[in-house]
Symmetry: C2
Subunit: 155 residues, 2 copies
Amino acid sequence: MAAKAGNSVGGVLPHPHVIGNAFAQHYYKILNESPEDVHKFYHDQSILGRKPNSDGTLTSITTLRDINKHFVSTYLKGCSMEIDNVDSQPSHEGGVLVLVSGSFTVPDAMKRRFTQSFFLAPQKGGYFVLNDIAGEVVNQSTESTSISNEVVNDR
Amino acid sequence: MAAKAGNSVGGVLPHPHVIGNAFAQHYYKILNESPEDVHKFYHDQSILGRKPNSDGTLTSITTLRDINKHFVSTYLKGCSMEIDNVDSQPSHEGGVLVLVSGSFTVPDAMKRRFTQSFFLAPQKGGYFVLNDIAGEVVNQSTESTSISNEVVNDR
């Protein structure tokens, strides 16, 4: 289930943008359609950051068993999930950092935004999700400024 | 300038949450007050994702010289920047993944939200920023739902 991204002709790896996009498309499709299979993106040493604690930090879900339990107990079927943007960079020791932003709609609820940061660690023939941290979700009633952090750094 | 996080008594490294929080507090303080020093968080192999291209992907800024040039050309003094949340996880080969969300105000403009994903790679006595990807910014006029991705995965 982990993204197959290596082993192309001549051993040249695809660009991290290609890897990140392919991963994100595949990941959210499986998340929507087959939540019972999502744990296959992860390994035993993977860490999911979920459900904020009272102090705002996220609870860590670890071990493949608990990760599977988490996704199996999830109900996402019928949810309309859209990826707005995927950004990826080559990272430490063959890994790929992927930042996804998007929105999703659940029945009888407003569209909401999410961001999710993944670290894809290399494995034979591809990658697995080593880290998965969820960003903040804000209501979609406001207009997106469509600007990334140039407003943070380039004013 | 890189976050000093190792070398505590007995060689025990602080928890990634401590590293991530210390890094974020320090990083945004320097970004606000001394943009000419921000490049010291980075190394030559670091990658910044900035300014979206027409296809929505971010332009990569690489080499310490260009990273420095980027921050020196930045004007952030007088900008009120607030960190809402910092989440961190131990990552690949001694690295730390940090996801920061927050908001900032510039004169005569609405408060805006940002997310930024950092990969801190280990170096002697601490860490440096290997990856830095900016997430999407949306207007702050809407109320935050204060929910991370449990709404994505736990409905």
